[in-house]
Amino acid sequence: MTSSVPIRPGWLVAGGIGAAVAAATAVGFAGWRILRHLDAVEVTGRSMVPTLEPGDRLLVETWTYRRRPPVVGEVVVAPDPREPTRELVKRVAAMGEGKVTLRGDSAKSTDSRRFGSVPVAKVRARAAFRYWPPQRAGLIPPSSVEMDPLTD
């Protein structure tokens, strides 16, 4: 290989640093894009027993419901219609015209039977993964069990 310009070691170092900075920026940007849509929450209350126990810690994500509406059986985070600064974690029992009917998994749950349905636009986060306690860590699967939103 012939070259009129000799390659100096300094160029290689500068190029290497430049590439590393570019790669770190790309990874950082991708990481930021992912982390921006993730959050950690702690569950309180027993209305989602046995799926979720009080003290469970979950990762919730907001990108799914930017792309599509919730699906019956998914576990979601939604504002409490009675007190909008509180957030509830419940399962989607039914989808209506722009409305979501929520149910707890426990028979003693207070949910849409009491406070009515929630506007679908308010349901932004999906409960995706339990990371604490470690022995019960794992994905939170959507329920395949048919739920009757009106009775019980």
Binding site: L35, D39, V41, E42, S47, P54, R57, G104, S109
Partner: protein, 141 residues
Amino acid sequence: MLNIRRLIHPTRVVHAHCDLPCGIYDPDQARIEAESCVRILEKYADSDDPHFKARCIHIKEERADLVIDHLDCLWHDYFKPNHKEQFPDLHDTFWMASKQASTVKGSLDVEEARKLLTMINRIGEMWTATGGPEKTRIQPQ
């Protein structure tokens, strides 16, 4: 946005509640029902009347269920994640007390009921230390 600190100490709480939290909490509710269990089991042991003994069992089981309900209410509605930093054994204490209340429900051993009382006293200490008496009872005018 997720970060390591939020992962270790989530400050965002999502509620899976069973009723409307009214803001009034006192471990005495659970304690009185647990004391009932102790006294009922003493009376059960002292009695020779099968009808009375049957009623003791029935009512003691009701009272043990009430203990579980009252403990759940304190656990989920009163105590918050920051209390857990003050009392790292908070969840364990409640978990063991709930289990003990279930044990009392199914047991005729008065010692089990006394153990439950001790656990509720520990919960009462946490409630008092976190300002429960001032914050979650209506103060006399």
